[in-house]
Symmetry: C2
Subunit: 200 residues, 2 copies
């Protein structure tokens, strides 16, 4: 099988939220996480860890907390959009327990403090590598943060130590029938690119 | 020219901090930034903008502030490492003005508040796409945050509005003689991967 190309994969990535029940083989997960660890991090400190959850009972608990976060932060917002992204996200919130794999990229936070905005520069590139590697291998992913309201419970359930925080939750699996890669709608880059100064 | 492969590019990426003086053609910059805009963002809101700086006078100012940040946050730390990464970062801090291109990925922050840690999930994946696309095209990059101490001045110089913040600064150019892609040292993924719970 030929290796997938970089630009093809960058353009193929889109949020996939409906999955087949098939498990993702462990050797595939290892390859995906190894790709994640090749991302940059400040001072090459590699402050990350990746917690992979496939256990049905654990996924069930996380799914409850996730749904609560979804309702509290999004579904109850009177100004929420009612578009295809919303409906797809709603489907995921109601079926999270059926997702084959949940991965929590974690970062060492130091002293239990909430890390700063720019600390994310040492973990979200790794999360993106992880999703790109999955995409290249035909595995759908979506990055979410609706578990954050219940992050304490999630960390306790998974035994994540006090000095680490979860950066996000990546739901993952082979795309369900009818899901597709590519074609994610984006504004033209020219509208968000400025030369030399804002507006330029 | 055959398209570069995804995994090859993920493994080729490493911090490049010494550049040839050659400019990066505008059509290449456009392709790189378009790749960035295909990254995921919360609710597909695409809250980003990219400010590209090549103007020598502006780079000179930014280089001064960057050097100040470097000294204050790193070079003056008595526990700093004295390894190859340090020396390479020191070189960059002293030669930033000569870097052909500086790109500031910015994110809408809302009300001038400092965005939260997890807000980074909507901008750093785009920064990573940008760096991967550059790598695939033979252009070296390094992601840095030492300008943050002087972010207010940087924003003023570049006309970045109050309701946006810079997520990082990406220095970019064709690698100088002796610089190479690939071979970035990383701990084995197996040491940072846990199944079902921490330590598992």
């Amino acid at each position: 099988m030929p290796e997938p190309e970089l630009f093809e994969t960058l353009y193929a990535q889109r949020a996939i939220r409906r999955f087949k029940p098939d498990p993702v083989p462990k050797e595939i997960l290892e390859r995906i996480i190894e790709a994640a660890t090749h991302a940059p991090s400040g001072g090459n400190r590699q402050p990350w860890a990746f917690v992979v959850v496939t256990d049905p009972a654990k996924k069930e608990r996380i799914a409850e907390w996730y749904h609560e976060g979804w309702v509290g932060m999004y579904a109850s917002d009177p100004n929420r959009p009612r578009n295809a992204v919303y409906r797809s996200a709603e489907y995921l919130a109601e079926h999270m327990a059926e997702t084959p794999v949940l991965i929590f990229p974690c970062i060492a936070a130091g002293g239990g403090r909430r890390p700063s905005f720019q600390t994310g520069s040492s973990i979200y590139p790794a999360a993106q590598n992880l999703m790109l590697a999955a995409t290249a291998l035909g595995i759908g992913t979506v990055i979410t943060t609706f578990h954050m309201r219940r992050e304490g419970e999630v960390k306790e359930l998974l035994g994540i130590p006090d000095d680490y925080v979860t950066a996000c939750m990546i739901a993952m699996g082979y795309p369900a029938e009818g899901e597709r890669f590519g074609g994610a709608g984006r504004r033209p880059a020219s509208e968000v690119t400025y030369y030399e100064s804002w507006g330029g």
